[in-house]
């Protein structure tokens, strides 16, 4: 469980991180909370030549209100999101989901940016970003650009972040006083979801599924149906549209699709309370 050798450099600002990424090229990786990267490095599934430690960039750890948005810095830890009064008030789904990630030790180190860029279809926060209609803010040598959560997730563990770029913030539209629910189906307390459902109701509704595709999955037809005020049965009828669930020791494809329907139904029951 000892990672392969690497060179270690520390970035002190976003500009510094972008400069270091350009300098060290493709073989370099950013190190945020390290709670996806270090386990992979210990198993030597990932062997970066250089780690660019961004954990000391204070300017990327914040939660602030900006008009109709809540903006969260990419290096904000799961725990700080879980405990934030601002997030609890305007994005209760996101606060709750942050508190469902792993265990307290994981939440004390892991960051929202790391979770999103890792792009694991089994992860929790990507589903919350999809259901709430978040926008990613990515910085590179040519400045900042924005991309919707839906377009951000490209494939298994692959996002739209290009070489030389860093995710700097996530802009969430406020969902104050709207119904929401997160159903995480696990066999053991700290596990990743076998299937999960993130449901946001209100003016801009969305439903996203965990572990139901090769990437974090926005259930587009179901989200549209909810937007049109469809009956729950009609939402459930299309919840598995375009899914491509994995088959593993925990569940077959059919069982995962069954779970997606059952959990969506439960999510509606909770969200409508």
């Amino acid at each position: 469980m000892i990672p392969a050798q690497f060179d270690y450099v520390e970035a002190t600002s976003v500009a510094d991180a972008i400069r270091l990424l350009a300098e060290h090229g493709d073989e370099a990786k950013l190190l945020a909370g390290g709670h996806s990267l270090i386990p992979l490095m210990k198993l030597r599934l990932v062997t970066p030549a250089t780690l660019i430690d961004v954990t000391h960039i204070k300017e990327l750890s914040y939660i602030k209100e900006d008009g109709n948005n809540i903006v969260i810095g990419a290096l904000t830890r799961h725990r700080d999101i879980e405990e934030s009064d601002l997030v609890k008030k305007h994005l209760p789904l996101v606060a709750h989901v942050a508190g469902e990630v792993g265990d307290p030790q994981v939440r004390n180190r892991g960051t929202i940016g790391g979770s999103l860029v890792h792009g694991d279809p089994a992860a929790d926060l990507p589903a919350a970003a999809l259901a709430t209609g978040a926008t990613m803010v990515i910085a590179g040598k040519n400045g900042e650009r924005r991309i919707s959560a839906q377009d951000f997730f490209v494939d298994f563990l692959e996002t739209d972040v290009q070489p030389g770029e860093i995710l700097v913030a996530i802009e969430f539209p406020k969902h104050t006083d709207a119904g929401w629910a997160y159903e995480k189906f696990v066999r053991r307390a700290m596990d990743y979801s076998i299937v999960g459902v993130a449901l946001q109701l209100g003016a801009k509704p969305g439903v996203a599924l965990v572990n139901m595709s090769n990437k974090p999955h926005l259930a587009v037809s179901a989200s549209q149906a909810i937007g049109k005020g469809a009956a729950i049965a009609d939402v459930l009828a299309v919840i598995n549209d375009d899914t491509n669930p994995p088959e593993d020791l925990n569940a077959t494809v059919e069982y995962r699709q069954h779970l997606a329907r059952v959990l969506t139904q439960r999510a509606f029951a909770t969200a409508s309370k």
Partner: protein
């Protein structure tokens, strides 16, 4: 590549020239000889390596020593009180028999200590949630929960010095 560390461990400043890939748990065990912090898995799941980083519970197998310069680490060796008495959590594990083989115990004690600092009077459910990241193969957790409750009920415990 080597890095010079500067980490305060159990109140003492430590500094070593280590490989960049040195995990905090290896720094504690191999560089400092503090073998109370255990390694129980290869996957960051078990929590046996839990220490306090500036008062918060972290898995020391999932942090590089190079990353945490000028931070304060508390390990099980630093858990006891200044006069040598067990901490309330340590005494709780003794009174309630919160261990069998003891392998998970240092991590359990550090995670429980972090919990009680934030929430001095947790319910059983809160205790179970807070210890989600710590696995025990022996006890079935029942006695561990009782141990933490004992500590919550006896926050001023002291044995009046080392035994």
């Amino acid at each position: 590549m080597t890095i010079r560390t500067s980490i305060t461990v159990n109140g003492k400043d430590t500094s070593r020239e280590v490989e960049a890939r040195t995990l905090l748990v290896h720094y504690l065990r191999e560089e400092l000889g503090l073998t109370g912090t255990h390694v129980g898995c290869d996957t960051s799941n078990c929590g046996a390596c839990t220490v306090l980083l500036d008062g918060e519970a972290v898995k020391s197998c999932t942090v590089f020593a190079a990353q945490i310069h000028d931070c304060n680490i508390t390990t099980i060796e630093g858990a006891a009180q200044a006069d040598g008495s067990f901490s309330p959590v340590q005494e709780g594990f003794r009174q309630e028999h919160g261990l069998q083989c003891g392998y998970c115990t240092p991590g359990m004690i550090m995670a429980s200590t972090a919990l009680l600092t934030e929430n001095p009077n947790p319910t059983e459910e809160e205790i179970r949630h807070a210890l989600e990241g710590n696995l025990c193969r022996c006890t079935g957790y029942e006695m561990i929960v009782n141990a933490v409750r004992w500590a919550a009920e006896n926050p001023n415990f002291t044995s009046g010095g080392a035994k």
